[in-house]
């Protein structure tokens, strides 16, 4: 699994954001937008960019479609994280953490 996950790295920042947003629980477009924008203030996501990314993540098997929760609008497409998706998100997070630690070791962070 680890090797499979690393073949997806580095993840596009938006793809990573989407995976993190869905990690909170199955979700749909507008809610994903809200979650991402709440986490990264100042970002404004637009539909075409978002859904091409979601489509690719579905195609790569990192996300999968799931049933809408009871009472939700049935027209919404709900997606959730697959095991592979979770592994890739985790690998990307580790990669980024390693980068930050390197920056710290090079005393770059202190300069900033």
């Amino acid at each position: 699994m680890g090797d499979d996950a690393s073949s997806h790295l580095p993840l596009h920042p938006l793809a990573f954001r989407i995976l993190m947003a869905v990690h909170e629980g199955p979700s749909f477009g507008t809610e994903i937008v809200q979650r991402i924008e709440a986490a990264e203030v100042g970002t404004k996501l637009y539909p075409a960019n978002l859904y091409r990314r979601i489509r690719d993540l579905l195609g790569d098997g990192l996300l999968e479609e799931c049933a809408s929760p009871e009472g939700a609008d049935p027209r919404r497409t709900y997606v959730r994280l697959t095991d592979a998706g979770r592994a890739v998100a985790l690998a990307e997070a580790r990669r980024l953490r390693a980068l930050v630690l390197d920056a710290q070791a090079a005393r770059l962070l202190e300069e900033l």
Binding site: F28, G29, T30, V33, Q34, K44, L45, Y46, P47, A48, N49, L50, Y51, R52, R55, R75, R76, T77
Partner: protein, 890 residues
């Protein structure tokens, strides 16, 4: 509470925006669209709902269009790439990269093409935004297509509204509207407010409800009903601090003889009153017959088409009711009024005057876009020609014709998309300029913005322009033949010749279009010049005007009016800097008018004709002297002309010319309103003035003494002063000395006010000039591009000529002449086309004919100058060809 109203208007806008967004999604391949469109719309809706201002909505749209077009292009790339399965010389992916590289190799051509597209698309999008906002966008009311204006040409009384309501079942409701200047003396200084007195069905017809409290009900319009008022949101916020407890309060608002009104409702924020107004009160129907009802102030009517009925039925019913009413009150309507009785959609009636002009401007700027397309096509053709060898190499290496054409089309699309995006940005920037020039009477101009409609327009314009400019050059350039193009054989030479014919044809087309637009702008500029230099008959410069209002002072009766204006008039005389003071009941230069049937002594009225109507002005002494209107004979109105003296009147020159030509008018008499009224004696004749702005010719006019007239009229004070700023700052104090409760309105300089009467002409003239300039500039770029290219291609030929002894001058002449033919031909075609093209302008021209020789000469010389300059630079280069270098190369 006011929240609800915002969403009321927003939901209307959002529905339209979503429809447009759905159209935009068609840029995606159907597989993607079918799967994701619904989800994408939901996210877009979320974005829109966050945007509460027009500006924010415009930003959402601009980003959404960029997002959609960019992602759709990537999606297509991916989509086609999969089908083709891989790269190689025919792969789409490699073509995109090559296209970018190809464009980078000719940076100047790319930049010129992109900027040309940006200007064309930007100007068109900005202009379309104006047409969309003013003419196309539905009125913000419930089912706006069912709302009509009822017999807009006629003057109504309340009884007529009732009669037509009963006689026209195809109208479910009809409402009369009358705009009054009222005085609000509550919560702050007394100020004038525009109050719409309406039949209570008004709100039912528009389908709007109050945000707070209620609107008017039928009971409010019955005799004896208490006086109530509904406020606009803006007035409620400005004067009552958005206090919800204002409901049920009695406020000091004077309209006609009612001095207090109880507030019963506040309208939603953003609700646009029709036609204007800051508050609404009810017109009371006293149940009189049409002939006896003296409420002849109901000057606008709206109605709603009943369910199942058609506008044609309503039109016919109103027309026949009008005939009946006409026979009941024969003196009120003439034949012409009755003939046009009917209904017309409210939006059409509101935008009638502007519609033709705005469509004309859009047409003109559309021609500019065509010029831009011809230009880009020419640039791409030239580029294609210069790359024949490279493309032939590709063909020799196995690239198919289709793949070469696709490569060139991709290049054109890139130019189009970048040009389109830059164009949007240009539109966004230039809309402010257009709006700042717009005449104040242009309806709904405050609602214009670069919104979804404009963006959809920009996208369509970009696609069409790209196809128009890119398709033909791509097909042509793909017809390379490795055999001949690589060896310079005759077939290739023939191909070059035919492409030269096409380039010249395109230059001719550009010139023809540029002449049409430039001539339109020259005609409007000439009109503007005529308008600004027309003799007004008086001197507006140095005159300050304002109007104290006697209503709301707590005093009533004609004496209250006379004493207020008389005392203010007297006090103004003592002000430092003041040279003279006068007054008049209708401000000089305004479009308002009072005119009455008049019987000049000895003037015979033809059988069947009514008495002629003559403009009526009641003036305070000093009016003519203040405005410097020349006295031609007799005397003007004096302080001694009061109601205890004989009735006197001053007439203008047109009056004398019309009714008493070749006679001495002094001492003759006339009757106003009816022959039985006491006669007035003419004591003076004054010069004609442009009473209604610069463009309208003087009409017969009579002036009576304000102080001799038994009516409750307001007066505009007109003051000639050496120190206008000082006077303006003292006005409140001057009026306070007489009555502190009298509001002051309309303080302004007469010359500035008068200047507005040229604002429509100025608007069209400036916009058309910008378009004309753009057309000429793009045309010049086109000529320059084509002749530069021709010179470069013919360099060896020029080298031979020089080597054989031709002088530099001869070479320059040859180079220039070969480019001149299409320009001359194009200009000729353009002139002929202008005869048709400038016809729509006719009603906007002032003392200038569409075939004005001066305008034609101006345009042709501007065009000639530009063309010569654009031809001369490359030709000069041809004259400097070094034979040794260009021939040595071969």
């Amino acid at each position: 509470m006011p929240k609800r109203l915002d969403s009321w208007k927003n939901s209307e806008v959002n529905r339209r925006d979503q429809r447009l967004y759905r159209v935009l999604l068609h840029l995606f391949p159907s597989a993607f669209r079918d799967r994701w469109a619904e989800d994408m719309e939901a996210v877009f809706r979320h974005r829109l709902e966050e945007a509460t201002t027009r500006r924010a909505r415009a930003r959402v749209w601009i980003t959404a269009v960029a997002d959609t077009t960019g992602q759709a292009a990537l999606e297509w790339w991916q989509h086609i790439g999969w089908i083709k399965g891989g790269d190689g010389m025919n792969g789409i992916g490699s073509e995109w990269k090559q296209a970018v590289r190809g464009l980078q190799r000719t940076p100047w051509i790319t930049l010129t093409a992109v900027l040309t597209m940006a200007l064309g698309i930007g100007a068109n999008t900005a202009m379309f935004s104006v047409v969309d906002g003013v003419v196309l966008e539905p009125l913000p009311y419930d089912e706006p297509d069912g709302i009509v204006a009822v017999w807009p040409e006629a003057n109504f009384n309340t009884a007529m509204v009732r009669e037509i309501d009963e006689a026209a079942p195809a109208l479910s409701d009809i409402a009369g509207i009358s705009i009054w200047t009222a005085v609000l003396s509550e919560a702050g200084d007394p100020t004038e407010v525009d109050v719409a007195r309406v039949t209570p069905s008004y709100f039912r017809i528009l389908g709007v409800d109050a945000a707070l409290g209620r609107t008017l009900t039928d009971d409010d319009g019955r005799p004896g009903a208490p006086s109530v008022v509904v406020l606009t949101h803006d007035l409620w916020v400005a004067r009552f601090g958005a206090d919800p407890d204002v409901l049920g309060r009695s406020i000091a608002l004077s309209v006609e003889d009612a001095t207090a009104h109880t507030v019963v409702g506040v309208m939603p924020n953003g609700y646009d009153p029709i036609p204007i107004g800051e508050a609404w009160t009810a017109v009371v129907d006293l149940g009189a017959t049409v002939a006896d009802d003296n409420t002849w102030f109901v000057n606008r009517r709206i109605g709603r088409i009943a369910p199942g009925a058609t506008i044609e039925q309503a039109d016919a019913q109103v027309a026949s009711a009008a005939q009946r009413i006409g026979s009941q009150a024969p003196n009120q309507f003439d034949e012409a009024d009755l003939r046009v009785a009917g209904v017309v959609r409210l939006k059409e009636s509101m935008t009638e005057d502007a519609r033709l002009a705005l469509w004309g401007l859009l047409g003109a700027v559309g021609l500019v876009l065509l010029i831009a397309c011809a230009n880009v096509a020419n640039l791409l053709l030239a580029r294609g020609e210069s790359r024949r060898t490279t493309l032939a190499v590709r063909a020799a290496l196995g690239a198919s014709r289709r793949s070469i054409a696709r490569l060139l089309l991709i290049e054109a699309s890139m130019i189009g998309v970048v040009g389109g995006l830059l164009g949007l940005w240009t539109a966004y920037g230039s809309l402010g300029l257009i709006l700042s020039l717009a005449p104040p009477e242009l309806p709904r101009i405050d609602q214009v913005s670069v919104d979804g409609g404009a963006l959809a327009f920009a996208v369509t314009a970009t696609l069409l322009a790209t196809l128009l400019a890119g398709l033909w050059p791509a097909i042509r350039a793909s017809r390379v033949d490795p055999g001949s193009d690589l060896t310079g054989a005759t077939r290739a030479a023939a191909g070059r010749r035919s492409s030269r014919v096409i380039s010249h044809g395109l230059v001719g087309l550009e010139m023809a279009l540029a002449v049409v637009v430039a001539l339109g702008s020259a005609l409007m500029l000439r009109s503007l010049g005529e308008l600004l230099t027309v003799d007004l008959g008086f001197e507006p410069e140095g005159v300050v005007v304002f109007r104290p209002n006697a209503l709301g002072t707590g005093r009533s009766g004609v004496d209250a009016y006379r004493s207020l204006y008389g005392q203010v008039w007297a006090n103004l005389q003592d002000e430092p800097g003041v040279e003279s003071v006068g007054g008049v009941q209708v401000l000089t230069g305004s479009l308002n008018n009072w005119s009455f049937p008049t019987w000049p002594e000895g003037h015979v009225v033809a059988e069947g004709d009514g008495a002629p109507t003559v403009n009526f002005r009641a003036v305070l002494p000093g009016y003519f002297e203040t405005l410097e209107i020349p006295l031609l004979s007799g005397r003007t109105i004096e302080e001694t002309d009061r109601d205890d003296t004989e009735g006197v009147v001053v007439v203008n020159q047109t009056f004398v010319d019309t009714f008493w030509p070749d006679e001495d008018p002094i001492g003759r008499t006339l009757n106003i309103f009816s022959r039985n009224e006491p006669a007035l004696r003419v004591v003076g004749v004054v010069g004609d003035i442009r009473q209604h702005g610069r463009a309208r010719a003087p009409r017969p006019e009579l002036y009576v003494p304000f102080m001799d007239w038994d009516w409750e009229m307001s007066a505009w004070m007109v003051v000639r002063t050496r120190t206008p700023d000082a006077l303006e700052s003292r006005l409140r104090a001057i009026v306070d000395e007489v009555d502190a409760s009298a509001p002051i309105a309309g303080v302004q300089r007469l010359d500035e006010f008068f200047d507005q009467s040229a604002s429509s002409t100025r608007f069209f003239a400036v916009l058309l000039s910008i378009f004309g300039f753009l057309g000429l500039a793009l045309g010049a770029i086109g000529i320059y591009g084509v002749s530069s290219f021709a010179v470069a291609r013919r360099a060896p030929e020029f080298g031979v000529r020089v080597a054989l002894g031709a002088t530099r001058f001869e070479v320059v002449r040859t180079a220039m002449l070969s480019g001149a033919a299409p320009i001359v031909l194009g200009a000729g075609v353009g002139l002929a086309a202008s005869v048709v093209g400038t016809r729509w302008l006719r009603s906007y021209l002032f003392e200038v004919q569409p075939t004005d020789p001066l305008a034609i000469v101006l345009v042709l010389s501007a065009l000639g100058g530009v063309a010569v300059a654009a031809l001369a630079i490359p030709a000069w280069r041809a004259g400097r060809v070094d034979p040794a270098r260009v021939l040595g190369g071969d």
